[in-house]
Amino acid sequence: MSALPALFLREWRVARRIGGSGAMGVVFFLTLVAIVPFAVGPDPNLLARIGPAILWIAALLATLLCLDRLFQADAEDGSLDLFHLAETPLELAVLVKCAAHWAATGLPLILAAPFLGLMLQQERMALVGVVATLLVGTPALTLIGAIGAAATVTVRRGGLLMALLVLPLTIPVLIFGVSAAEAASGGTVPFYAPFAILCAITLAALALCPFAAAAALRYLGE
């Protein structure tokens, strides 16, 4: 079982050293959040109201854009074939790759979210809500996106195609993530109901998505 920690470390190092996908994701996140006030106007009340939604959309897009190379680099240099041949199940390798990817790109987004939330006039409880929902919800985005990344692994410039395929599937995560984040800062809905559903979606994605992504890699690898 020491293969999986080794794989995690490898993915982590590659993500940190090459292309800096984590840092780039955060910069993209910042840019997206900075664009919105130009579009909707800098009215503090409006920004305070739609802030959680902006942060969630920006996190969704940043996660997706970083994901398109999840399996492509491995397919190009042949390590994907080694995953196929290895004794460790491909599903576990996919899961570990997703975990490393989330640690390298998802976590920085979540760490940056409170500061961007301050720029969007968020109250303290709203900030806690956004960070908590992002912490629970972004793994689901990474895992669902992994299916798309696996399916488009052989497509040249598959990034847009992947986003087209994956975005409709991420709508439930977005719905419950934003409604829980908004409920945290007051509102008619209690915080725990959408938050519990968000947790359930992430757990279901954790259980199902590695199998779907590994199946996609197997079918396409033949």
Binding site: A151, V155, G158, L161, L164, L165, P168, L169, Y219
Partner: protein
């Protein structure tokens, strides 16, 4: 299973299509005529007035939109399990038809929504899940356009079809799970339909006609897809043999 393996041969399928298409299109026309006659002579609704007639297009197209996805899902299983080129053609063509019928459903729904709800669009659970279905169809069509006719493209489309199938039960039960603007199920429900018989029978006939229309168009589309692929193969062979490709004798049947 023996039926499947018999008709899963493209040449046999072409023969089957030749024999079945006149009957299928004839039955479709007949049922459409009866259904449309019924739809125009059915009594107007006591609340909605004449606009209720939009239902006779809206409900069948919504049903076909979902039916097409179910057909596509089973074809995808055929692609992944049996690797059959015919299943591939069925999946590819059902996506186009399904997208068209979903579009009709969304447009008629919003035309019906304006006089009844006072708005063309609300972010109601049923409407949103239908829109997601439309996006899924468009994504699958985009896969096909990017990947041409490679077996790999067929497999990507099949896998994404199976993943997207999760939307189908969500559409079906959206009106039960979320109590929003779209009315709950009124035909297939416990305790019998809540629509009056005079409106129910044209609706059922129109739904049958729509299903037959979809099957007719689907068989035609699969036939054209088979012929198109044969033509592509023939012109490749002609090019290799040094002949000029694409002379008139090899035009596909419309």
């Amino acid at each position: 299973m023996s039926f499947l393996s018999t008709y899963a041969n493209p040449t046999r399928f072409l023969r089957f299509a030749e024999g079945a298409l006149p009957w299928l299109s004839g039955a479709t026309l007949l049922l459409l005529a009866i259904g449309l006659y019924g739809a125009f002579t059915a009594p107007p609704d006591y609340q909605q007035g004449e606009t209720v007639r939009i239902m006779y297009i809206h409900v069948p197209s919504a049903w076909i939109a979902i039916f097409a996805y179910v057909v596509m899902t089973s074809a995808s299983l055929g692609v992944l399990v049996w690797r059959h080129p015919l299943a591939d053609a069925a999946q590819k063509t059902a996506a186009n038809l399904g997208a068209a019928f979903t579009f009709i459903c969304l447009v008629t729904g919003s035309l019906w929504g304006k006089p009844m709800w006072g708005t063309f669009w609300v972010w109601d659970a049923r409407l949103t899940s239908m829109l997601v279905l439309f996006l899924l169809y468009l994504g699958l069509i985009a896969v096909r356009q990017t990947m041409d006719d490679t077996p790999r493209g067929a497999r990507i489309a099949a896998i994404m079809t199976l993943v997207g199938a999760i939307d189908i039960p969500i559409i079906k039960y959206s009106v039960d799970w979320w109590n929003t603007l779209h009315q709950p199920a009124s035909v297939f429900r416990i305790g019998g339909p809540s629509i009056s018989g005079s409106m129910l029978w044209p609706l059922i006939i129109m739904t049958l006609a729509g299903t037959l229309l979809f099957l007719t168009l689907h068989v035609m589309a699969i036939r054209n897809e088979i012929l198109r692929r044969r033509l592509a193969r023939l012109s490749m062979q002609a090019v290799r043999a040094g002949e000029p490709a694409g002379d008139e004798s090899m035009e596909p049947a419309k």
